[in-house]
Amino acid sequence: MRYTSFTSYDVVLLAQGLGVSLALFLTTTVIGLLLGTIWAVIRFYRVPVLSPLIAVLAELLKNSPVLVQLFLVFFGLPALLKINVTPVEAALITLSGNTAAFIYVIAVSAIESIGRDQIESARVFGLSRWQVLRHIIAPQAMAFAIGPLTGLLVNQLQVTSLISVIGVVDLTKIGNILNLRTLKPFIVWTIVGALYYATAKLVAFGGATLEKRLRAHSAWKGL
């Protein structure tokens, strides 16, 4: 057997790489969702100082390349603060922040999409601002946001491939390693691409299923 041929161990490698990519994707998605939603709620309550600060932060994160943010965290932070940042930590921080910024934007527009009239009637019936957010705005905003959110997450999944640049052994990095060993780029990158594709499809399917459930109140003919 020549070193360029594929072995069954390569499947394990690919699975490991996929596992790392997925773990990073899921973790940063959860953190991003949490952060982005909290930021949007802070904006909803118009908290002084914090809300404008968050708006600026989100602007910065949205409008600069993820790769540059990644380099800033991985190379810039250690230089500035004299601390050690591992590749995985840098990836977690960067991707979470980036996802949070986009989720913040989606959440803000979702909250603003809810008709004023409903909010007014809920307030008149004595519901607090929090109860209005919880019972009137959140369920409808979620139904509104799930479409853009699914699109975002499918994109963020692909963005995780950037972290291979700073040495995280994710699916793309494994592809790189296999490619260098086997010298069969077309096969390796087709397989890696197919794995990303399958995962993205899974995310999209999950989003569509959730959307159907959240939109149950408008899911009939003529609407």
């Binding site: 009239d117 409903q118 009637s121 008149v124 019936f125 019972h135 009137i136 009939w220």
Partner: protein
């Protein structure tokens, strides 16, 4: 009682309410008439705290609606029915009616649902309790809106042109419910264009013109030839409304 004193409200340079004094006592049905833009709806929106007063005061059972800590109590005692229903579209008719009793009055779900079902039954919507607003006709939606208000067991019912978005048939179904309510002694402030109906259920008629309260008379007197009708502005308004 609901007491308004010297209420002023303007939007930009336009004075919508220009010094309103009004008392509504328990078990009264007070209809507020006036042409569009006379400030009727704004007056209701000031009563339930949706608009801030520029000057003057409104109290509901001595709770001042411009004080945040009083407003909550004032809102518990009054309930509003809106022109465009303002139902929560993601909730069924039943959930629309039970939300505030459960969240604000802290009723148990079972208790709130039992009350809601009997209210929906009483307006002929017992079978539609699990329908979403978009599955209901306009008249049915407004009947849900009325149930939602009644579920709060309010002392005062504020009705803001509740039939203006409905066709005559649906208007009739909604008004018949109000007629029953009036008989039970529910206090109502009724902003409306339904002159004839206002005449049958009201104990008093108030006429607004350009943000001022120009007439406040018992219903009989308002429609009497020597009473409100003696005023050119009112007879002109009434003859115009009746022609439409």
């Amino acid at each position: 009682m609901i007491r308004a004193r010297g209420v002023r409200k303007s939007f930009g340079s336009a004075a919508v309410l220009d010094g309103i004094d009004l008392d509504v006592h328990g078990s009264e049905v007070v209809s507020i008439l006036g042409s569009s833009g006379s400030g009727k709806s704004t007056l209701i929106r000031c009563m339930n705290g949706l608009e801030k007063l520029d000057a003057g005061s409104i109290t509901i059972d001595d709770f001042d609606v411009s004080l945040p800590k009083d407003l909550a109590e004032a809102r518990k005692r009054s309930a509003t029915v809106f022109q465009l229903f303002n139902l929560y579209p993601h909730m069924t008719a039943l959930q629309n009616v039970t939300l505030a009793p459960i969240q604000v009055l802290k009723r148990s779900r079972a208790e709130a649902e039992a009350t809601a079902r009997s209210l929906l039954d009483s307006v002929g919507l017992g079978a539609r309790a699990d329908a979403y607003p978009a599955q209901l006709s306009g008249g049915q939606r407004q009947r849900v809106g009325i149930c939602r208000a009644l579920a709060m067991n309010p002392r005062y019912l504020l009705l803001d042109e509740i039939t203006s978005a409905l066709d005559p048939e649906m208007t009739a179904e909604v008004l018949s419910i109000l007629a029953q309510l009036a008989k039970t002694g529910t206090t109502m402030v009724f902003v409306t264009h339904e002159i004839e109906f206002a005449r049958t259920i009201s104990s008093r008629i108030v006429f607004l013109d350009k943000g001022q309260l120009v007439v406040d008379l018992p219903t009989e007197e308002f429609f009497a030839a020597e009473g409100g009708m003696a005023r050119p502005r009112i007879s002109q308004f009434l003859s115009k409304m009746r022609k439409d």
